[in-house]
């Protein structure tokens, strides 16, 4: 069970002022920028101080209101980083800074140059054994193919995502072989497909709220199992894990989930 979730580095990006007004969102909620900033700082501080990761903080870019959600810009697995081509036109440039940062970290970079491909990192679920790629509004088949090429060791299965922005809008890995999944119909449907497509058996942890299913799991040698979780739902089955509650309410308003805010590398 060792290996999965043992990250050493995290890449995050600061909140731009433009987030409040211009960031893409599926709802129409007002964002309290100040509060969002607070939450983000807390998040970063947990990564940095509490978990002891080496955190690379990228500066915000006002021209890129969604730039705080770095997860979508790259997929890192092993020593390879795939720089994505985000589905939203306005976010394409976010990858530049990410690419530079990851190059800096010494990862081998694969870029998605195909004009017809789109992929948001939020649609990519790596279970430790294989990839699931959500086919969503932001991610298409071609993008998934390129990901499969980039990570040849692993099976890459596609999963249709409905009614949600990303695959990871309702699921994430909450431990080795443990998928946290929302209770919504869309989430359960996706889980079924994932189970059918997989040669492996996963345990599932069903959470009443889809968003609560988005967490960040880490297994750090120094800290033991840790899971960043959202809001106050309790992961009852995760007694062994150190749960670190992190509030993310404001960013949720712009469809930002916990995993969205960092790119982790082993």
């Amino acid at each position: 069970m060792s290996g999965f979730g043992s990250f050493t580095h995290a890449v995050v990006r600061a909140l731009p002022q433009s987030l409040a007004k211009e960031a893409l969102r599926t709802g129409s909620l007002e964002v309290d920028l100040l509060k969002a900033q607070e939450e983000h700082d807390k998040y970063v501080s947990v990564l940095k101080h509490r978990l002891g990761l080496e955190v690379v903080e990228l500066p915000a870019d006002e021209a890129l209101p969604d730039c705080v959600f770095v997860e979508d810009a790259a997929v890192v697995c092993g020593d390879t980083a795939l720089i994505t081509r985000p589905g939203a036109e306005s976010r394409r440039k976010e990858t530049e800074a990410m690419k530079a940062a990851l190059t800096e970290l010494g990862l081998s970079i694969v870029e998605m140059t195909d004009e017809s491909a789109t992929l948001d990192g939020g649609d990519v679920l790596f279970t430790g054994r294989e990839f699931f790629v959500g086919l969503s509004m932001r991610t298409n088949q071609r993008g998934a193919e390129i990901l499969a090429d980039a990570f040849k060791d692993y099976a890459v299965s596609t999963v249709p995502v409905q009614d949600r922005l990303h695959l990871k809008s309702f699921c994430s890995m909450a431990g080795p072989g443990l998928i946290a999944i929302g209770a919504s119909e869309a989430a359960q449907k996706a889980l079924k497909i994932m189970q059918q497509m997989s040669d492996h058996n996963y345990d599932k942890l069903t959470l009443p709220d889809d968003l609560a299913a988005n967490c960040v799991y880490m297994n750090l040698p120094s800290k033991g199992d840790s899971a960043l979780r959202l809001l106050l739902q309790v992961f009852e089955k995760l007694k062994d894990h150190m749960l670190i509650p992190v509030s993310n309410q404001e960013k949720v308003k712009v469809d930002g989930a916990l995993t969205c805010c960092s790119v982790l590398r082993i």
Partner: protein, 1006 residues
């Protein structure tokens, strides 16, 4: 080394004698070599030759000098192996005969019958004919080398002038060539065992020999069949390779097996068939170096020392540097350890052991079918878009160029669904089907399916995997008790250098020392090369089969015998509850393993920071198993040809009232046969019943499913039984199952009662599929038909069955087939074929029936019974090629429900229809029309049974419509049909064969 061919030439000179001395040797059931894998081990000189063998020898022996006889006995394994094919050829010959006679007039039926029975009975005459065809072939094959047997000297040369040896060239995994002389008609396993012996390999079940067919497709050589028939006109050139990739190589017993697996994987990786990332390439490459060169030696190993190795399809300098870097870190690892590490990493690759086949889905989208240990994977481009684990699959079949899988309904679904895929051509469809059958059997079953002993009607391929399953081979391996064999790790480096002149090793001059020196540290000096004796230990099949349970520790709720027992019982009750602890998800890849793998890779990351993996889209194509280098032809089928063949089998038994039989037979066709007096076997009736003349006619009709629809009026359906009929091909024993006439075949993925692995995947529903099973309960012969019918819901039918049995005891000697072994023939839905006169008709009132019927028959009371079973409408969701089913978001708009209609009519009518004894009591005529339909084929069997006064006549008319691509060998198909008909009814004779051929240009789906 005298081979059978040689002796056959003698037979030619004395055919008459042979015919009479050994007529009994032709038991059809015995001529097929036992499917039992162990029994098939041809290396054992003592393996019993097929029935004809010894007898033949007896007959021939008079003409052979004693010394020659002795030689023969030494090489008996060969005759044993090749005994099956001759039979088939004889059937061909018979067919010619029959056609001739048929042309001459039906009046001669009686003589035909006589002759035919003789030919059936006398295996010894077969070789003569076979020889003829063989001669022809010799002329056409250039690469064949006719090698007179040196040992036999001059006189032997004369005697054995027909004996031909062929040199086979086998490319081994290390790239070297192995040449071996085999008798021309040797079976695949002979060559395979030669190779294994050469390699000193005991765990051979994971391996196989393959060859390239005319279309450059790679095909597996079937060990149970003649090599010559499989390769057709291709070269006698084979490749030894891994056929079943063990899920957990660490469970292999011997290092030599692991080494060979490594060699295969290195090939797969270098060719791009097994894609992996840069890091993995480097890691695997480093283990390769460690295994073959030993510890890195800075003195000896300069940077270019590895440039001769190929670690990846497109190897870069950068990769080589990484490999070397890692190589240094493996210091101290033994070659065996290095191989083990190599395998531990390789087995986790997602495409490990996946056999890819090009296909299209229903919308014509290019996809790939990947057959692996756990099931069937569907890929589109590089993405997995669906997966069907074995437990999910109820049936695998193919029809023409389509490949179908029937899926077990999910928790919420009510019906099974069928998913179809379009393969480039018929052969490709069959190939993927075969691979599925083999993988399913090997990885999921505890033991291969037992071949059926009898068949009633069979169509399609009877192909089954007959080797050991993984469970069995593990068991067998655990018994291996030899000192680790000495073997030399041939350096990949040397191999690549010697490609132009690869070392050729001959069986005779095999010397173990090959290159030496160069491999210094990498050499495994595991002493001793004594392995032959151990092999014997491995051979006993019985051990393997019976002891499985102990080793693999799965639930043994009903292996082997118990299982069969229950099946039989069930058969009687018409219910077969499918056992479904199928959940065999293999858990070999544990999380830890994967994570370890990941970790091991990540450990290397720092050294690889700059590495740039390059996506190589083209690699994907290379992964195609079938064709490493060639692309599949995606041409549409040329023309659709249909061949209609009617075989008439008739058998007459008289006890004394011979004269009356012809009249009793009433039916028009019957009269032709009626003359059969003397030649027919006399069968005294046990019951004191009047003699029974049985005239059996068989008509096998293959129709498109569509045609069936109109025939079944939905309203008539009282009970909906899901019957799936069809040409189920359960036997392995078919003599020529490879013929192209098998346009289709089905394979029911029977779940083992005992599972090989522990399955934890619970998501698979475990409900029993009764409907399917009912259908699977196949009648094993005529006598068993009643049973099958009983399975049908109609109560009337059930009652009669038992009663009928005694009368039909003609085949009593044949064991009942267990339900799942049933040949497709038991047709479940009987349909009254319009072409038959006796055909009763759905219009007949179904009223009479049950109780009375049975009693009547038993008592032979004169009664007219008509029961017409309502047609059965089978409704099934057929999702054609819906590869995206799993991903379907809107609820299956694409799924087109197709109503499958099947009708069954069983009619017992008064004899007046025959024109014999108008409605006279005392005459009971039973007409059964049995039609089995599968997606592509329809088989109609019409059985007319007339019982009158002193005789009963059973007539089976079989109509076979063969539909297929242009490359059908019609003669072969016909021969096959006739042969099968005869096998199914050994005591009947074929009285008439009508061939009707239609060719139409099909606007094919392609």
């Amino acid at each position: 080394m005298t081979t059978e061919v040689g002796s056959e030439s003698d037979v030619k000179k004395v055919p008459e004698v042979q015919q009479q001395t050994a007529p009994a040797s032709a038991e059809p059931s015995q001529e097929e070599s036992p499917s039992d894998p162990e029994a098939a081990a041809s290396l054992e000189p003592s393996s019993p030759p097929a029935d004809g063998g010894p007898k033949k020898e007896k007959g021939i022996s008079r003409f052979l000098p004693p010394w020659l006889k002795r030689q023969k006995s030494q090489s008996q394994d060969k005759p044993g192996e090749s005994s099956a094919p001759p039979k088939q050829e004889s059937v061909e010959a018979v067919q010619e005969e029959q056609e001739e006679k048929h042309g001459a007039g039906a009046a001669t039926a009686s003589t035909e019958q006589t002759e035919e029975e003789k030919s059936i009975g006398s295996a010894d005459t077969q070789p003569v004919r076979e020889e003829k065809s063989e001669e022809k072939e010799v002329e056409t094959k250039e690469e064949e080398q006719v090698i007179p047997h040196e040992a036999s000297g001059l006189s032997a040369l004369k005697l054995n002038k027909k004996m031909k040896m062929v040199v086979c060239h086998v490319t081994l995994l290390d790239g070297s060539q192995f040449s071996c002389e085999v008798e021309k008609r040797a079976k695949g396993q002979y060559l395979f065992f030669q190779v294994c012996e050469h390699l000193n390999l005991l765990e051979k079940d994971y391996f196989g020999l393959s060859f390239k067919d005319n279309a450059e497709q790679r095909c597996w050589l079937d060990p149970t069949k003649e090599i010559k028939r499989q390769i057709r006109n291709s070269q006698w050139q084979f490749a030894f390779s891994v056929k079943f990739y063990p899920l957990d190589p660490s469970q292999l017993t011997e290092d030599i097996t692991r080494y060979l697996l490594c060699l295969q994987l290195r090939q797969d990786i270098a060719s791009g068939r097994l894609p992996c990332s840069f890091v993995t390439h480097a890691l695997l490459g480093s283990y390769t170096l460690q295994a073959e060169l030993g510890d890195h030696d800075p003195e000896e190993h300069r940077l270019d020392y590895i440039s001769d190795f190929q670690f990846a399809p497109n190897q870069t300098k950068e990769l080589e540097e990484k490999v070397v870097e890692l190589h240094k870190s493996h210091r101290g690892m033994t070659p065996a350890q290095s191989d083990a590490q190599f395998l531990e990493n390789a087995k986790k690759l997602s495409m490990y052991g996946v056999d890819l086949h090009h296909a299209k889905d229903s919308e014509g989208v290019d996809i790939m079918l990947g057959v692996c240990a756990n099931g069937l994977l569907i890929y589109k481009d590089r993405l997995r878009i669906n997966r069907f684990a074995w437990p999910k699959i109820l049936k695998i079949s193919y029809k023409r160029s389509n490949f179908y899988i029937k899926i077990r309904p999910g928790e919420t679904e009510q019906f099974e669904s069928t998913v179809g895929f379009k393969l480039p051509n018929h052969r490709a469809a069959k190939r993927v089907w075969k691979v599925c059958v083999e993988h399913h059997t090997f990885f999921r079953l505890v033991s291969p399916e037992q071949p059926t002993k009898t068949k009633f009607l069979t169509l399609g391929s009877k192909f089954r995997y007959s080797g050991r399953t993984q469970a069995q081979t593990r068991q067998a391996s655990s018994l291996i008790d030899r000192p680790a064999p000495y073997f030399q790790r041939t350096s990949s480096k040397r191999i690549s250098r010697s490609l132009d002149g690869a070392p050729v090793v001959n069986v005779s001059d095999y010397s173990q020392a090959a290159g030496a020196g160069e491999n210094g540290p990498a050499l495994e000096l595991n002493s001793d090369s004594k392995s032959q004796q151990v092999e014997v230990v491995e051979e006993p099949d019985a051990d393997a089969a019976t002891s499985i349970s102990s080793e693999t520790a799965f639930e043994t709720d009903g292996a082997g015998a118990p299982e069969r027992k229950s099946k039989l019982r069930v058969q009687g009750e018409n219910i077969y509850v499918r056992h479904s602890n199928l959940m065999l998800e293999d858990l070999d890849k544990t999380q830890e393993d994967v994570l370890k793998h990941q970790a091991s890779i990540s450990e290397l990351k720092r050294s690889f920071m700059e590495a740039t993996p390059d996506p190589m889209p083209s690699q994907w194509d290379k992964r195609l198993t079938g064709s490493p280098a060639t692309t599949l032809r995606l041409q549409a089928q040329g023309s659709l040809e249909e061949e209609l063949t009617s075989l008439f089998l008739s058998k007459a038994c008289f006890s004394g009232l011979a004269g009356s039989c012809s009249t009793a037979a009433a039916p028009a066709e019957a009269s032709k046969v009626s003359a059969p007096p003397a030649s027919a076997e006399v069968k005294p009736e046990v019951n004191g019943q009047p003699e029974v003349v049985e005239v059996v006619e068989e008509t096998v009709v293959i129709e498109e499913v569509v045609k069936a629809k109109p025939k079944s009026p939905a309203p008539e359906v009282p009970a909906t039984v899901e019957t799936e009929c069809a040409a189920e091909v359960k036997e392995e024993r078919s003599l020529s199952s490879d013929s192209d006439s098998e346009e289709e075949a089905e394979y029911h993925a029977q779940p083992p009662t005992t599972t090989t692995h522990n399955n934890k995947k619970k998501q698979e529903p475990e409900e029993e599929q009764e409907a399917v099973l009912i259908q699977q309960a196949p009648p094993s012969g005529i006598e068993s038909q009643p049973i099958t019918e009983a399975a049908e819901p109609a109560p009337s039918a059930e009652e009669e069955k038992p009663a009928e049995l005694p009368e039909e005891e003609v085949h009593a000697d044949e064991p009942l087939a267990t339900p799942d072994e049933a040949p497709n023939g038991h047709a479940l839905q009987a349909k009254a074929p319009p072409t038959l006169r006796a055909a009763p008709t759905e219009e007949e009132e179904p009223h009479i029936v049950n109780g009375s019927a049975s009693r009547v028959e038993a008592e032979h009371l004169p009664q007219v019974i008509c029961c017409s079973e309502p047609p059965v409408v089978k409704t099934e969701m057929v999702t054609i090629s819906d590869t995206f089913a799993a991903q379907k978001t809107e609820i299956s708009t694409k799924e087109v429900p197709i109503v499958h209609t099947e009708t069954k009519t069983i009619t017992y009518e008064a004899a007046q229809l025959d024109g014999n004894g108008d409605g006279e009591p005392g005459v009971l005529m039973t007409a059964q029309t049995i039609t089995s339909e599968s997606l592509c084929t329809t088989t109609t069997t019409h059985i007319t049974k007339t019982l009158k006064g002193g005789l009963s006549e059973t007539r089976i008319e079989k109509r076979i419509v063969i539909t297929g691509d242009s490359d059908i060998d019609h003669d072969q198909a016909l021969a096959q049909a006739i042969k099968e008909a005869k096998e199914q009814h050994p005591d009947m004779s074929v009285t008439r064969v009508v061939v009707h051929k239609e060719t139409e240009l099909a606007e094919d789906e392609d």
